[in-house]
Amino acid sequence: MNQTNDKTAFLNAGKTLLRKEDRRLLTGHGRFTDDIHVVGELHACFVRSTYPHAKISALNTAEASAAPGVITIVTAEDLSEWTTTLRLAPPIEGLLPIEMTALPKDKVRFYGDLIACVIATDRYLAEDAAELVIVEYEPLEAVTGMFAAMEEDAPLVDEELGSNMISHQSFETKSIQKIMKAADRIVESTFATARQTHLPIETRGCIAEWDEGSQHLTMHIGNQAPHPFRSVLAGRLKLRESQVTIVVPDVGGGFGQKIALYREELIVAALARHLKRPVRWREDRMENMLASSHAREDFARTRAAVDSNGRIIGLMLELIEDFGAYCFYPANYLARVVAMILTGPYDIGEYAYDVKVVLTNKCGNGPMRAPMAITSWIMDGTIDNIARELELDPVQVRRLNMLADSAYPHTMATGETMEDINPGTALEKGLESIDYKNFRKRQLDDRTRGVYRGIGICSVVESTTYGSKFYKAAGIPGSGHECAWVKVDPSGEVRASAGVMSTGQGYETAFSQAVAEGLGVDPKDVAIKLGNTDVAPYGMGSRGARGATAGGGTVYLAAAAVREKALAIAAKLLGLNSADHLSIQEGRVCWFFDGKIQETELTLSDIARTAYLDPTSLPDGMEPGLEVTKAYDPPPMTYSNSCHFCEVVVEVNSGIVKIERYLVVENCGNVLSTQIVEGQQLGAISMGLSGSMFEHMIYDESGYNQTGLLSEYMMATASELPEIEIISVATPNRRTPIGLKGMAEGGVMGSIGAVSNAVSDALAPFSVVIDSHPISPLSLRQKLRKSH
């Protein structure tokens, strides 16, 4: 990138603007899937398994089919005529290939699994009929825990695989075994995250419209990655991709749950085509919680070889993930990243990992905001354990092992290269801001009064904006590039689009700032058009904190290319030999002359009019029009960093944890929109705190979900969350447009680690160490009782 990426050089990037989306969203004029109605639409409702694991021995839909309003009831056999089988078999060593039909044929694999689909004239009648479908089950033993799943005689979730261990990868540096054997001291630590779900406020849902005349399918759906979704949907319906249009309206949150083509949406689309009538489906809250997708439930064990000063000379990671019953993503996809980037800011040259992913009779997993969420807790939790065992100050152990900021770019033992980050600065800045120097004295004084105060520190190196090279190296098919167009109409109106899709983040605001920066117009004069696959260019969609760098970055590059063309035209119109001293500011061409910037009489509208309507006045050989489509492939990985500090007081009698202070020092590079970035930071930290302290998707031993309602599944609300202080120590990325970095997941990673480490620190006098989530009052009491 031929630029300085000096923040002060930018006129529009980094400004705080009112969100463009908010006029419609805050006045109740948002347009979500449920606000769209299609004449003649039918409603879908799914018959779901009431057993965690069972053979379907008989299925009788006769009575249900005769119920009022029922159009049809379809089963696995019907769907197999209209849809293809999903085969997920990327060439990744240690990963078993899977196949999945639209509906399960012989057996159900989890409580809430699909059995049949009822189509009726309204949802009420569809649910009435669904109750009349008679399913005869032959119950099978369910496997509900990751360790049980790995036992030799465990019931198989997917008989085709011959094993529940769907993925197993390992890695080790040359000398790690020798080092571990020779080490004086090995510190062992374990970590377990609870099963969670994404819980978007708007559940999944869609409307499929089949146009029999033009043989075209239009799918209205809240989705994060409309083009890849279109490709998969067309393929599985045996349609050409040009026969499918995906239209994404306003979306009420995704968090990773709205990327893949799941079975329900496929079935709805297939039925719209088969019936030649529009069909809609809205997942209800219970379906969303029981059967959409889950996340987390990782177990990790580290073994750190340390010297007497606490210096880590070798580290081994064992990671097991409970992936549930179905894979809509390659099963290694999430856990692998944890293993790849674990060592993060620490200087650990000798490293080994062993990562297993197992299937169980639970709802399938999907990527959830920070699929690698557990990473920083594992690493900084290990550091804290080293400090405890060696009776050292945890900050001292961090400083001893942390790479100097000047050491970057640094390549980890796994081959991952981090650059343009400053974990040392972030740590020191935070320590100073929370007055760590005096904290330990405060802590001791409080303990004498029976007040148990603790501080948790968690350094995060966040992998964002995965580029194509990363995917290629990981063996995952797909690309990390993004595509965008910017068009200036003959009237001078500016429009832009990209393949990513917002689920509420505020892309319209941020991208208008990217266009403004690249082109030289006011952000308010830029219209952003996202989410319609016939309008937006084919892009890879929103996931992995790529919205700003891949999405906004590509939009910026396209805008800059438009500016270049506009200035070439301007030079010609102004009679200049070159555009070297010209720029566009707020839509007007300016001339840098005599040490000053001077406005010319020429505006972007004048240039656009010339480009479209007076092409003979253009420079020789120049195409008419003023629009550019641009693709951009970001670096293999763009790293951000942050350091989280959480101060808690634990009431040891009740087990209640009070967060007294939460502070984060962030380096997410230059940003497009300050308040949108802040919203993401607060949201991510809140999500991590809620996940580690409250949320738990509980299955009983037989495989029944105990937490399928919002009253049972504890998600923190604003009342339970602390004020969060944010300090920026941003440094730009040297290779990305504007120096952007991703940032939307690091807050989850850091808060999980910071709060866990803080509670362990507070309870050190009782030798209680947090090694599992959620950190509920009950779980703390159970641990404290044992310590007495």
């Binding site: 949802r123 009420y124 649910e127 009435d128 109750e131 209800d284 809250r285 219970m286 009698n653 009740s654 087990g655 409250f694 738990h696 509980i698 105990q706 937490t707 309602l709 009253s711 504890m714 923190a716 609300t717 009342s719 339970e720 509920s776 009052p777 009950l778 009491r781 159970q782 009782r785």
Partner: protein, 291 residues
């Protein structure tokens, strides 16, 4: 999450409502705020054929105080109770309890009569009614009324003495005495949730500063809230000192027959009772010292 089919009735008088109830019996359910019933219907845990909406029967709504008896119409919303100056003056523990119910939207629709008829063992009103020995006024088709104390009215989890043809019309609470100390201490993971364990207490002292009357109630330890009669009796004429509080808390935590669930095991419920009773009695004692 759509209810099964039902017929909706919109009576405009109590007699009309009672006639409908008499006609449809167990096939009918009364809907007031619907904050529990509608969720149960959407989950198809309740599938009434007839829904009798009592929202257009104004006589069921309202708060008045006569002869030191606070009378609240069954249709009165939690929010109206929370905002009532009359309630705050005569029985402030109700104001405090109302503030813990759900969230604003829930409090606007949910009613005290609905909550009591639903008899959720983790809800505020059944517990407060048992603490204060509230009286339930129940209307019958014959035009007769019967009244029943809270402890007889609330029989078990989601179970009351209400017959299918009857309507709970009014709840009366004796006003708190002057200088009566009180406390309501629910424990929930999140603001607005049903409590896991709760303790409520009212305390009056005689002129010598000894205990004249203690009312102490635990929620979350049984299928209904329980009054600790023995402890209440045994506390009379005691000095309300730290020692007494400690003893009561220790004794109270052995009461009830709680269950294990994923929110709390038996031991944790007992631990919470000890903490909350201590808290409640300290607050109640402070309350007695206000005058």
């Amino acid at each position: 999450m759509k209810p099964s089919p039902f017929t909706y009735h919109d009576p405009h008088s109590l007699d009309e409502a009672l006639a409908l109830l008499n006609q449809y019996g167990e096939e009918a359910r009364i809907i007031a705020g619907g904050q529990s019933l509608v969720a149960m219907m959407n989950l198809r845990l309740a599938q009434p054929d007839h829904l009798i909406d009592i929202n257009n029967i104004p006589v069921l709504n309202g708060i008045e105080c006569q002869d030191r008896l606070l009378q609240i119409g069954a249709l009165t919303s939690h929010q109206d109770i929370l905002q009532s100056e009359l309630v705050r003056q005569s029985c402030p523990i109700l104001t405090n309890a109302a503030a813990h119910i759900g969230h604003y939207a829930i409090r606007q629709r949910g009613t005290i009569g609905g909550s009591l008829s639903h008899a959720d063992p983790a809800a505020e009103w059944p517990m407060i009614a048992i603490l204060l020995d509230g009286e339930m006024e129940i209307a019958q088709l014959s035009g007769e009324k019967r009244t029943l104390g809270a402890r007889d009215f609330i029989q078990s989890i989601y179970t009351t003495d209400l017959a299918p043809e009857e309507i709970l019309t009014k709840i009366s609470f004796p006003c708190l005495e002057e200088n009566e100390g009180w406390a309501f201490k629910p424990f929930a993971r999140r603001r607005g949730d049903y409590f896991i364990v709760a303790v409520a207490a009212c305390l009056t002292l005689d002129q010598s500063g000894r205990i004249k009357r203690l009312r102490l109630c635990l929620g979350g330890m049984e299928a209904t809230a329980i009054r600790l009669d023995e402890i209440e009796q045994g506390s009379i004429a005691h000095l309300p000192d730290e020692n007494w509080i400690r003893e009561v808390a220790k004794a109270a935590c052995n009461e009830g027959n709680p269950v294990d669930d994923h929110n709390a095991d038996v031991e944790y419920r007992r631990e919470l009772v000890e903490i909350l009773v201590t808290d409640a009695l300290q607050d109640a004692f402070k309350g007695t010292q206000r005058g």
